[in-house]
């Protein structure tokens, strides 16, 4: 089935181990011909001596470490900070592909915001039976406290990071919507900076569309959803603190936007007004870009043992004195079971067909679909609806009988907690290996969507790489890395 043969590139020592099989390869077509937009890239990489490539890779790594661009690995005493593994070979996206992605994501975020407003107000979509009520009300991220609450501009999800995969046909599909506190955008921005320094000439020759304005657009998005009557709003970023795995990102974004990075203990709520403690006394806060999960944000409203939030924050929010981005309760729209209904949501609110398709999904709450899934557990991927980061998954083809039995038991006990999807063969992109050669590895793509007075998607995103050969898991907590994404003009 598989072949390492490449017609014209057969002699290229860089590609000796390059595997081509049924999966979509970002650089080569299925017949082994190089895709035109990758020609220059391959030529430049081939012209550099291997030692030079390795040297540039090393200097990029040192630069990440010295800048402290690291993430925290849980459960280890020593060396809790690691650099996010980084691949030197950029992933190229043609302007046609990007155009479709951009339109598709804009459509999706618009519909999902309309859906959230509807669910927390009149519930028309539920009344008309387009989505079963149980799916929404049984979701652990549904927040009853949000019923009837008016959020500025009806913006529930101001920042989203949607995971896309490219299937064998070359089509981009949505794997999941991250509508709560999506992370990773700082890696998109720093990868670009390092890349410009590492391969400057190549970068220039490609006419890559810029992404550097992301933080500025984020700031104006946040400003556009400030409470009414606050023309010069004070905006802050709320972080769980230095031990959070995304802490680097929080500091990075706060610094790039020029806003205060606050922790729960910096906030004081008095008479439903939120203040921060400063050396010059208390200062009123209007918009909170929060990177703390719903559950932890206010010990009075949710988890009473949370020390990450601020007591009384939810009441101030309900009183309309402060905006939270994203709003509470957005998790109901990125629930993995609800995901199956997103195409219906798009049709219902926008009266359009989805531009980006979903991955086929079996709902365990539906008897026939559950039956099918249970019979084919060895071929499917089973996911817990409440988990993220690649935890709580069964990957059928790589599982043992005991695992499958365990998941069968769990699914039958709690069908609402699981979904199943076919094991996807998604695209691979060329990556630099330890020995200086290039081999393909599986990649996904997470573009970042900003939704305020308008929708902005900076051209690019975080391309995550499953660095281990044959691996399909791209999560950083499970041995994934990232690479720069160049959207061509």
């Amino acid at each position: 089935m598989s072949t390492t043969l490449l017609r014209d590139e057969f002699d290229n020592p860089l590609l000796r181990e390059y595997l081509l099989d049924g999966a979509f390869d970002e650089m080569f077509a299925s017949d082994g011909a190089i895709r035109p937009h990758y020609e220059d890239l391959l030529r430049v990489l081939s012209s550099l001596p291997r030692e030079e490539l390795k040297r540039r890779k090393q200097s990029a790594d040192v630069s990440f470490l010295m800048q402290g661009i690291t993430f925290t690995v849980y459960g280890r005493e020593e060396g809790t900070e690691r650099i996010f593994p980084y691949d030197l070979v950029p992933r190229l996206v043609t302007s046609e592909d990007w155009d479709r992605i951009e339109r598709g994501l804009t459509q999706r975020i618009t519909a999902l915001n309309l859906f959230l407003h509807d669910v927390y107000h009149d519930g028309k979509i539920l009344a008309q039976g387009v989505i079963p009520r149980e799916i929404v009300y049984s979701c652990q991220h549904f927040r009853r406290q949000m019923r009837g609450l008016q959020v500025p501009r009806n913006v529930y999800v101001a920042v989203a990071g949607t995971d896309l995969l490219r299937l064998n046909s070359g089509e981009f599909v949505v794997l999941e919507d991250n509508l709560r506190v999506p992370s990773g955008v700082s890696y998109m921005l720093t990868n670009r900076r390092v890349m410009k320094r590492t391969l400057p000439h190549l970068f220039r020759s490609y006419g890559v569309r810029p992404i550097e304005h992301y933080t500025q657009v984020l700031l104006s998005t946040l400003r556009s959803i400030a409470p009414e009557g606050r023309p010069e709003p004070t905006i802050v970023l709320l972080t769980p603190g230095v031990y959070n795995s995304a802490y680097f990102e929080h500091t990075f974004l706060a610094r790039q936007m020029g806003i205060e990075l606050v922790e729960g203990r910096d906030l004081v709520i008095h008479d439903n007004i939120v203040y921060m403690r400063t050396t010059a006394g208390l200062k009123r806060v209007d918009v909170i870009y929060r990177r703390v999960d719903d559950d932890f944000i206010d010990p009075l409203a949710y988890r009473s043992n949370s020390i990450l939030g601020a007591a009384g924050l939810f009441n101030a929010y309900r009183a309309g004195n402060v905006t939270l981005a994203n709003a509470f309760g957005t998790g109901v729209a990125d629930d993995k079971a609800l995901y199956a209904y997103v195409p219906a949501i798009i049709r219902y609110y926008l009266n359009e067909d989805p531009i980006l398709n979903n991955v086929e999904t079996y709902l365990m709450t539906e008897k026939s679909q559950r039956q099918h899934a249970l019979e084919n557990l060895d071929k499917l991927v089973v996911k817990a609806v409440g988990e993220s980061g690649g935890y709580g998954m069964l990957i059928g083809p790589h599982s043992c009988a005991a695992d499958r039995e365990e998941f069968r038991r769990r699914i039958e006990a709690h069908p609402r907690n699981y979904i199943a999807q076919p094991t996807l063969d998604f695209s691979r992109s060329p990556c630099l290996q330890e020995d200086g050669s290039i081999e393909p590895r599986h990649v996904d793509l997470r573009p970042y969507i900003l939704y305020g007075d308008k929708v902005t998607i900076v051209p690019g995103g975080l391309t995550r790489v499953a660095l281990r050969k044959g691996s399909l898991v791209v999560n950083s907590s499970q041995g994934g890395g990232s690479k720069d994404t160049w959207v061509l003009s």
């Binding site: 470490l65 010295m66 800048q67 402290g68 603190g241 230095v242 802490y247 680097f248 500091t251 990075f252 706060a254 610094r255 205060e260 990075l261 606050v262 922790e263 203990r265 910096d266 004081v268 008095h270 921060m276 403690r277 400063t278 050396t279 010059a280 006394g281 208390l282």
Partner: protein, 320 residues
């Protein structure tokens, strides 16, 4: 500026100043040990420990190199250089967005260097390279701080931490030396004593500066005068307190009506008393007590900074 941020800035520079002081103290005394001396090894290192504030769980055990190793590299010993640099970096890490990238990179490099360069076992060979490199690292951070960070409130809090730590450390050092070295000094200075006095001056990087003012003629009175009252030398107590007061003043002029009056009074009084003090007067009374009084004032200033800027009560702040 967030109170928490001010707190972290303050401690970042305090820890770095402490690390630098400890390194220099260890380095100088390792050097002095090489010469024949009337001071026993034990007494010398007991003195070092006392000048570092007699750290808990750290006692003289007849092995210089293991003591030095602990003082430099034992992260679980709060007085160690490693713990100080770790503390500085942890504080800076929590305020990454407030300091410049250059500052962070310098500090981060210092942190990685100390983990990387840590010798596997106590020995003298690597230390002689390692210790000066650490001091360089701290100096680079200070240089980068002065040239890349706006000299606004944040920078002033860094100065406050640095100079308060420096004044306290020098006062402590003079107290110990007064008790241990000078109390036995008579008029004539022999070569052994001379060595100890140079050691004291060099611990404060003051030897060359002292010579410029008084020539290499070392006397007890002048050394104390120089380290305590010199208005221009950056490691003297008077200079440190001047700079501390200057920074506190700059901070309070930005603050809107918080109750800084008592803080300004205490630091202003200390500043003035050093400005008008005379060495003869101090020596005629009890110099040790004088140093300890300065230490008490420094502690009080620390408490007042917390009360005014960092841990004020919400009710008070709302009332304003």
């Amino acid at each position: 500026m967030l109170s928490r941020v001010a707190d972290s800035l303050y401690w970042t520079s305090r820890y770095l100043e402490r690390a630098e002081h400890t390194v220099r103290m260890v380095d100088i005394n390792l050097g002095l040990m090489l010469d024949k001396s009337q001071v026993s090894v034990e007494r010398r290192w007991q003195r070092v420990l006392a000048a570092l504030g007699t750290p808990h769980d750290l006692e003289w055990n007849d092995d210089v190199y293991s003591l030095v190793y602990t003082l430099c590299f034992d992260g679980s010993q709060p007085a160690s250089v490693t713990a100080c640099i770790y503390g500085a970096r942890e504080n800076a890490r929590q305020i990454r967005e407030e300091i410049s990238s250059e500052q962070w990179q310098r500090l981060n490099r210092l942190f990685h260097d100390i983990s990387r360069l840590k010798p596997p076992s106590p020995s003298d060979t690597q230390l002689s390279e390692f210790l000066p490199a650490l001091i360089d690292g701290v100096h680079l951070f200070q240089g980068v701080t002065d040239t890349t960070l706006s000299h606004g409130e944040g920078w002033q809090f860094l100065q406050v931490g640095r100079f308060l730590e420096r004044a306290s450390a020098t006062a402590k050092l003079l107290d110990i030396y007064h008790r241990d070295v000078f109390s036995q000094a008579d008029e004539s200075v022999d070569a052994y004593e001379y060595l100890e006095w140079i050691g004291l001056l060099r611990t404060c990087t003051a030897f060359e500066a002292y010579c410029k003012v008084y020539t290499a003629d070392l006397t007890y009175e002048r050394i104390i005068e120089f380290l305590l009252l010199d208005p221009e030398f950056p490691h003297s107590i008077r200079y440190s307190i001047d700079r501390l007061h200057q920074s506190l003043d700059a901070i309070q002029s930005e603050g809107r009506g918080l109750h800084a009056a008592e803080l300004m009074r205490v630091s202003g009084k200390l500043k003035a008393s050093l400005a008008y003090a005379q060495i003869a007067e101090i020596l005629a009374q009890d110099p040790g007590r004088y140093m300890r009084r300065i230490l008490d004032q420094c502690r009080l200033i620390h408490d007042l900074i917390y009360e005014v800027y960092i841990q004020y009560s919400v009710q008070t702040a709302l009332a304003m």
